[in-house]
């Protein structure tokens, strides 16, 4: 286990692996997202209650799921960096933050666009929406804290602590629709229960969610490579990787 962690924590190993995997992740994401968007827009049947307005679900739910998934990834990487003092893990956390922030913004914005025709308002201060907004501020706080501390090691440690403490918001977002009375509907897809949608609506949503995950995977690898290069000093593997003799 220890050896495994350290092998994956080695920047040269990560560089080789990410160069190999990133294009695959990008292509899988492109295929799934294009197919899912086409199916969601043109193949899935119209909802009997929300009519065609329900099609926003095919971008809203994947971006909202990703906003949580990215945060958990970021906090896990930050914790690994903090506990095992692995620099690469801190680089992964730093690289994940802007991606997570952008998809949290997208979840809020597409939710707002969906809310207007369905609820008659762009925004309500209910538990789900407010806790998702707090998530956006957590991402901003994490990035601002990193930027504010000049010393790299201190920035890594302080931002990791903030990321770990912020994890408490993840179950709050997830279960907010069950714990409190909210305008927001309950989960459309659950790991344990049956989905609350028929299969011809459901399949495109699953495709979009998985596609978004692969998209994040590809972006994370590219951004982590950039972060690793920024942190690296004059090392032989970096010279080789960049083709500098």
């Amino acid at each position: 286990m220890w050896k495994f962690i350290h092998k994956f924590g080695s920047p040269p190993h990560f560089f080789r692996l990410s160069e190999l995997l990133a294009p695959w992740f990008a292509w899988i994401a492109a295929i799934l997202i294009l197919a899912g968007a086409y199916g969601g827009l043109f193949v899935a049947p119209t909802d009997y209650q929300q009519m065609d307005g329900f099609r926003i679900i095919y971008v809203h739910v994947p971006s909202a799921s990703l906003s949580l998934f990215v945060y958990v990834t970021m906090a896990t990487a930050a914790a690994v960096g903090l506990i095992w003092r692995i620099k690469l893990a801190h680089a992964v956390a730093a690289a994940a933050a802007p991606i997570g922030a952008s998809f949290t913004f997208l979840a809020l914005a597409t939710g707002s666009i969906w809310a207007k025709p369905m609820w008659g308002t762009w925004w309500v201060w209910d538990a789900r929406l407010t806790s998702e907004l707090v998530l956006l501020f957590l991402y901003f706080g994490y990035m601002a804290l990193r930027a504010a501390i000049e010393d790299e090691n201190r920035a890594d440690r302080a931002s990791a602590l903030l990321a770990i403490i912020g994890v408490i918001n993840v179950p709050i977002i997830k279960y907010s629709v069950e714990w409190w009375h909210t305008l927001h509907q309950t989960a459309s897809i659950s790991k344990l229960g049956k989905p609350s949608m028929p299969p011809d609506m459901y399949i495109w949503l699953v495709m979009m969610i998985v596609g978004f995950m692969f998209f994040f995977g590809a972006l994370l690898m590219i951004r982590t490579r950039a972060e690793v290069i920024r942190r690296a000093r004059d090392q032989r593997w970096l010279r080789e990787a960049l083709g500098v003799s």
Partner: protein
């Protein structure tokens, strides 16, 4: 507007949500690629600069030693 692009009274909402998603995805791709390109460029410059500086120091030392002998 072609029929298949028409979502009745929700047309604007559906297309604006999908459009915004496309914009966020494209911006993410551009930002990630640009960040990698910029970091690689500055690292290359740093590494090449280091190499030039090291070779200059070596040359100077050799010349000085040569002059003294």
């Amino acid at each position: 507007m072609p029929d298949f692009l028409d979502f009745g009274k929700h047309t604007v909402h559906v297309w604006s949500a999908f459009g915004l998603t496309l914009v966020v995805m494209v911006l993410n791709i551009v930002a990630a690629r640009r960040s990698l390109a910029e970091r690689s460029k500055s690292a290359r410059r740093r590494l090449t600069g280091d190499a030039v500086a090291t070779s200059t120091v070596t040359t100077t030392t050799v010349t000085t030693q040569g002059g003294e002998s």
